[in-house]
C-alpha cells in the first residue's frame, strides 16, 4: 500500500477514536476517554494559534 493511503487510514482511525471519545463524554457522561479529546483539542488549538502567529512573523534568520 502507498504511504499516502496508510497515512489517510491512520488519520481516519484517529478521527473515529475522537468521535467515539466525544460520544462517550457527551452521551455516556463518562470521562474515561476524555484524554484523547484533550490531545486532539490541544493539537488543534496550537495549530490554530501557530497559524494566527504567522501574522506577526517575518522571513529571515531568527536573531534580534
Amino acid at each position: 500500500m502507498e504511504k499516502k493511503t496508510w497515512k489517510g487510514l491512520l488519520l481516519l482511525v484517529a478521527f473515529i477514536v475522537i468521535v467515539l471519545s466525544a460520544g462517550s463524554l457527551l452521551v455516556g457522561h463518562s470521562e474515561t476517554f476524555a484524554g484523547f479529546l484533550y490531545g486532539a483539542g490541544g493539537v488543534a488549538l496550537f495549530m490554530l494559534l501557530a497559524k494566527m502567529m504567522t501574522l506577526i512573523q517575518r522571513e529571515g534568520k531568527q536573531d534580534d
Binding site: 484524554g35 490541544g42 501557530a50 512573523q57 536573531d63 534580534d64
Partner: protein, 585 residues
C-alpha cells in the same frame, strides 16, 4: 563522631560568595577545577546540615538565615542544580571572571532564599541581577552586549519597584519581615518587582531575549536561579492573592500562571533557536508554579485547606523537578551547540548516533517536562492540576492540561529535529566528560523521582497532605496516556510543526519601538542643552586660563561691582548661618 547539630549553621550563600572571592588564588588549571568542585560540594553539605526551623545571623534588622521547610527545599535544589552547572562549566569556561560571576550569582540566589526580611532579600536580589549580567556579557558578541543592556534595564526597573514596595510596606506595617503584603501601592509595586523576575506575561521579554545569547554555561546558571527565586518570593508574599471580580473573589495570580503556561508554549513551538525554545518553555513551566502558588495559602493566618496545601506542594515539587529537567535540557543543547556550532533546529539533525549519551539524557528530560508517566514532570504537573480540580477551577484545569499538550508538541519537535531527522552533513562528536557527568546525574534524578515520588514528597512543605496524593491513580494515568498517544500521533501525521527560519515578534518589539521613539523625542532638546552647556563651560575655562595669565587685563569688573559681590556672598553666608542655627549662642 561529630554531632552536626552542635555546629552553627553557615548561610550557604556565604560559602559560594567566599568561594568567588578566593577563586583567583587557584590559577586556571586543574587546581581551580578541584577547588570549584569542592565549593559545589561544600555548598550542598551546608544545606544538608541545616536545622529547620531556625532564625539566626541577625544583624540589626537584617536576617541572613531564616530556615523552614520551604526555604530548605529551595536550598537543596539550588545546591544540586548549581553544583551540576559548576561542573558543566568546567568544560567550557576559561575565564576566572565567568566563574566568579557564576559563584556570586549562586551565592546571592541562596542569600535571597534564606533571607528573613525584605531588605536582606533586596540586597541579594540586586546582586543577582548584576552578577547574572556578567554571564551574558562574557559571551562577548554585540548581540550579547545589547541583550545584556536590555536585561539589566528590566531588572533595575523590577528592583526599583521591589524597593518601592518594600518601603511602602514598611511604612504601613512597621515590619520588614517577609510575608503577605497589605493591599495598597506597596502591594502593586511589590507584585511588579516580583513579576519581573517571575517573568509574568508582558514582563517576561528579558528572558527569551537574553538567555539564548549568554555563554553556553552561563545559560545553565541563568535558567536555574532568577525566575525560581521570583516564584519563591511570590509564594511568600502573594500566595492565594485575590481580587474582587463580579462580586466574587478571583484568584488572579493563579490565572496569571495559566496565561503564562499557554503563552510560553505557543511561542516555544514557533522557535527555531533551541535555547530560545527552551527559554520560552521556562515561561510556560513557571506558569504551573505560579498557578500552584496562586491557589495556595502561605502565611495568611488562616487554616489552609487540603487543596491549598497540595497546590503549594505541587508548585514547589514542579519547581524542584523543573530545575532538574530544564537544566538537563539546557545542558544537552549547550553540548550540541558546543560540538556543532549550530543554534537552530533547521541546521541540526542526525546527532543521535554522533552524540548518543547527550541524546538519551535529552530524551529523558523531554519526557519529564512533557509529563510522561514514569518521569518526574508527571508527578508535579499532576499535583498542580489535581489541586485546581479540588478547588473547582475548571478553566484553569483545562488551560494547564492544554499547556501540557503544547509542551509535548514542542519537545517532540526539539528532540526529533535535533537528533533523529536526517542530516548526513553534520559533523559532531560526543560531549566532553565534564558536560556528560551533570547531564547524566540530573537525568537520573528525573527518573528516580518519577518512579519513586516519595523521594520528593518527604522534603515538601506539607508532607502529610502530599503523602495522600496518588500520582499513579488509574484514571489519571490512563488519561495522560491517551493525551500522549493522540498528540504524538497527530504531530507526525500532520507534520505541521516543522521548524522554519522565521522571526516571531513578541511584545518586546513594541517596547523597543516605544523606547526608540522616546529616545529620539528626548534626543533633540538634550543634544541642544548639552551643546549649550559645553559652549559655556569652554568659555569659562578659556576665561580662567586667560585670567590666570594676566588677572589685571581680564578683570572687567569695576571696584564697586566687586565690593557688591563680596557683600552679597557675605549676606548669603549670614542667612545660611542664621537658618541653620549656627549663630545662636
Amino acid at each position: 563522631m561529630i554531632d552536626l547539630s552542635s555546629v552553627p549553621n553557615i548561610p550557604p550563600g556565604f560559602i559560594y560568595i567566599l568561594g568567588a572571592v578566593l577563586l583567583p588564588l587557584f590559577g586556571k588549571g586543574k587546581v581551580r577545577q578541584a577547588y570549584l568542585i569542592i565549593i559545589a560540594v561544600l555548598g550542598l553539605i551546608s544545606v544538608a546540615v541545616m536545622r529547620a526551623p531556625q532564625t539566626s545571623w541577625v544583624f540589626s534588622n537584617l536576617i541572613f538565615l531564616e530556615v523552614d521547610r520551604l526555604s530548605l527545599l529551595m536550598g537543596y535544589i539550588f545546591a544540586i542544580a548549581g553544583g551540576c552547572a559548576i561542573i558543566y562549566s568546567l568544560a567550557t569556561v576559561k575565564d576566572n571572571g565567568h566563574h566568579i560571576c557564576a559563584l556570586l550569582y549562586l551565592g546571592s540566589a541562596m542569600g535571597a532564599v534564606f533571607a528573613g526580611d525584605f531588605f536582606t532579600l533586596y540586597i541579594f536580589w540586586e546582586i543577582m541581577a548584576f552578577t547574572s549580567l556578567g554571564l551574558i556579557w562574557y559571551e562577548g558578541s554585540r548581540r550579547a552586549r545589547d541583550a545584556g543592556m536590555r536585561y539589566i534595564l528590566f531588572h533595575l526597573f523590577g528592583g526599583c519597584a521591589l524597593l518601592g514596595g518594600i518601603i511602602f510596606h514598611y511604612m504601613s506595617t512597621g515590619s520588614t519581615l517577609i510575608g503577605p503584603v497589605e493591599y495598597g501601592i506597596g502591594y502593586w509595586l511589590l507584585l511588579l518587582g516580583v513579576g519581573v523576575n517571575t517573568a509574568f506575561i508582558l514582563l517576561h521579554t528579558w528572558l527569551p531575549d537574553s538567555y539564548p545569547k549568554a555563554t553556553i554555561a552561563g545559560t545553565i546558571f541563568l535558567s536555574i536561579f532568577t525566575t525560581k527565586t521570583g516564584v519563591y518570593v511570590l509564594a511568600r508574599t502573594f500566595s492565594g492573592a485575590e481580587l474582587p471580580f463580579h462580586g466574587q473573589e478571583f484568584l488572579f495570580v493563579a490565572y496569571i500562571g495559566g496565561a503564562m503556561c499557554i503563552y510560553g508554549v505557543i511561542f516555544a513551538i514557533l522557535q527555531n533557536d533551541v535555547r530560545k525554545l527552551l527559554s520560552y518553555h521556562i515561561v510556560s513551566q513557571l506558569g504551573y508554579m505560579v498557578a500552584g502558588v496562586g491557589m495556595g495559602a502561605i502565611g495568611l493566618g488562616i487554616m489552609a485547606t487540603e487543596a491549598q496545601e497540595l497546590a503549594i506542594d505541587g508548585a514547589f515539587a514542579h519547581l524542584f523537578n523543573n530545575l532538574l529537567f530544564k537544566s538537563t535540557l539546557f545542558m544537552c543543547m549547550g553540548a550540541v551547540i558546543y560540538r556543532t556550532g549550530y543554534n537552530n533546529l533547521t541546521d541540526m539533525g542526525g546527532l543521535a548516533k554522533k552524540m548518543p549519551i547527550t541524546m538519551i539524557t535529552c530524551v529523558i528530560a523531554a519526557l519529564s517536562i512533557s509529563g510522561i508517566i514514569g518521569f518526574n514532570g508527571y508527578i508535579s504537573k499532576g499535583m498542580v492540576i489535581h489541586a485546581a480540580e479540588m478547588e473547582e477551577l475548571h478553566l484553569l484545569v483545562l488551560i494547564l492540561t492544554l499547556g501540557s499538550v503544547g509542551t509535548l508538541i514542542s519537545f517532540i519537535k526539539l528532540t526529533y529535529f535535533a537528533f533523529f531527522s536526517k542530516n548526513d552533513e553534520i559533523k559532531a562528536k560526543e560531549a566532553p566528560v565534564f558536560m556528560l557527568i551533570p547531564m547524566c546525574a540530573t537525568a537520573l534524578m528525573c527518573i528516580a523521582i518519577g518512579v519513586y515520588p516519595q523521594l520528593l514528597y518527604n522534603i515538601l512543605p506539607y508532607v502529610e497532605v502530599t503523602s495522600h496524593y496518588h500520582a499513579f491513580e488509574t484514571g489519571h494515568t490512563f488519561s495522560v496516556l491517551q493525551i500522549v498517544l493522540m498528540t504524538v500521533f497527530l504531530f507526525f501525521m500532520i507534520g505541521f510543526f516543522a521548524p522554519h527560519e522565521k522571526i516571531t515578534y513578541d511584545v518586546d518589539t513594541l517596547y523597543r519601538k516605544v523606547g526608540r521613539g522616546f529616545i529620539s523625542a528626548c534626543e533633540g532638546p538634550l543634544v541642544h542643552f548639552a551643546v549649550a552647556m559645553e559652549k559655556q563651560v569652554l568659555r569659562l575655562a578659556d576665561y580662567l586660563v586667560k585670567f590666570s595669565q594676566n588677572p589685571r587685563r581680564e578683570t572687567r569688573l569695576g571696584i564697586g561691582a566687586g565690593v557688591l559681590f563680596v557683600l552679597l556672598f557675605f549676606a548669603l553666608y549670614l542667612i545660611i548661618m542664621l537658618y541653620a542655627g549656627w549663630l545662636s549662642p
